[in-house]
């Protein structure tokens, strides 16, 4: 990773736009999605899911194990309120210097999907960064409509490109 950073080698050949992914991946379409975004020179540089469960390890104190473990559990991304979630998303927006957020409204994970519209509004207000919502499911392919999703992604990228001109 450090070597790639030093060489300036990104995950896609010509990265112009950096996006943050929210929610569990649409596992059955990960390749299609990454190629779709890459065709717009857009890269999904970070996501809220990877560290959703381990991100609260820092609250664990071995000298006060039971109390701190309870705290760590309750501080997991899905167990906090929308305002707190938005704070974490804003921190990621700043850290990874993103141009837009792609939110997967996931039918098989309602606790993760609830509040996405509010988080999108908070990010838009605080950082003037747009969000795209894709309705799908992490495993059920029947909940995925390719041409609808393609139109939304194309329109979202046209919007980001126009705003950066």
């Amino acid at each position: 990773m450090n070597d790639r950073v030093a060489r300036g080698a990104g995950a896609i050949p010509d990265e112009k736009y950096r996006l943050l992914w929210d929610n569990i991946p649409i596992w059955h379409r990960t390749r299609w999605l990454s190629e779709k975004f890459a065709s717009h020179n857009a890269c999904l540089v970070a996501d809220t899911y990877t560290s959703a469960w381990c991100g609260s390890m820092k609250y664990i104190d071995e000298n006060n194990f039971f109390d701190s473990m309870a705290e760590a559990y309750t501080r997991i991304y899905l167990n906090i309120g929308v305002d707190e979630m938005a704070c974490m998303v804003l921190a990621m927006v700043d850290k990874y210097n993103v141009d837009g957020i792609v939110m997967h409204s996931n039918r098989s994970c309602k606790p993760y999907s609830l509040g996405q519209y509010d988080i999108a509004k908070i990010v838009e207000k605080e950082r003037r960064i747009p969000s795209l919502i894709l309705e799908a499911d992490m495993v059920d392919e029947r909940s995925f409509s390719e041409s609808q999703v393609a139109t939304r992604i194309d329109a979202f990228m046209e919007m980001i490109k126009a705003s950066k001109q």
């Binding site: 519209y117 509004k121 838009e124 747009p130 919502i133 309705e135 409509s145 041409s147 609808q148 139109t151 939304r152 194309d154 329109a155 046209e158 919007m159 126009a162 705003s163």
Partner: protein, 256 residues
């Protein structure tokens, strides 16, 4: 410079030709099952009508669901961007667009230059779209042309609680068998569409002035139901159905 825009929708295909920013003409045909052939046909028919050679047109942009199926164009752009540009071209005061086409509905918010700021689309079913209205008109044995105006005579609109096309049709049929007036049923259908669009408008932060585009804009019943639900007036241009094609032709002028 002469440019053209071709909007290939799920039900109809539209073309518009512009000369130095001035609209020369538009045309609309049914898409049928072959999107590329429809795009080609509507373009050729419009050129013939205008007495123009294909070589006179410098650039062409395609849009709509069939945008990637036509190979003779210079670029494909989504209908969301094109509707923004088209609405701004026809009326530069407009800040939001409600577009209800054959198979989807969307709300688009634009800035003072016609650039898209935000948008929302219905999820992947025909509920509340042109196709939905076609199915309802058939169930009620009413010609689509008079469907919209009939609802304006409704005494008390029926409640259609289901938004799914299939379930709503069953609901309409049970209302018919109960002897409910046609006008009231149609008004109820329009109110159910308005409720759905209002939810989208709320999500996307719609701001007035609002223009309505797409084929369903021709249905005055839907326009009135939307005005009532949203509490604001909605503008409908005579070019509502070809707005996306006009936007594509305008974008083609700026293409490098």
């Amino acid at each position: 410079m002469i440019t053209a825009g071709i909007d290939i929708g799920s039900i109809s295909t539209k073309a518009a030709v512009l000369s130095n920013g001035k609209l020369l003409g538009t045309r609309l045909i049914f898409t049928g099952y072959h999107a590329e052939a429809a795009g080609q046909a509507v373009f050729e028919e419009l050129l013939k009508e205008l007495g123009l050679e294909r070589s006179a047109v410098r650039r062409v942009i395609s849009t709509g669901y069939g945008r990637n199926s036509v190979k003779f164009v210079d670029k494909a752009v989504t209908e969301i961007t094109c509707h923004g540009v088209g609405a701004h071209y026809l009326d530069n005061g407009v800040r939001s667009i409600i577009d209800i086409g054959g198979q989807d509905s969307k709300v688009i918010v634009i800035d003072e230059k016609g650039k898209v700021k935000n948008f929302a689309m219905n999820d992947k079913c025909a509920a509340g779209t042109g196709r939905f209205l076609e199915v309802m008109a058939r169930a009620l044995e009413v010609d689509l042309e008079v469907f919209g105006n009939l609802s304006l005579k409704a005494g008390s609109p029926s409640r259609i609680s289901s938004l799914c096309t299939v379930f709503a049709e069953s609901e309409v049929i049970s209302l018919i068998s109960r002897g409910e007036h046609r006008e009231n049923i149609i008004a109820g259908i329009h109110e159910s569409i308005a409720a759905r669009v209002a939810a989208m408008a709320n999500r996307v932060g719609m701001v007035p002035p609002v223009v309505m585009t797409g084929g369903v804009a021709k249905n005055m019943g839907v326009v009135k139901a939307l005005e009532k639900k949203l509490g604001m007036t909605i503008r409908v241009s005579e070019y509502a159905q070809v707005n996306g094609a006009i936007g594509a032709a305008v974008l083609a002028e700026g293409l490098k």
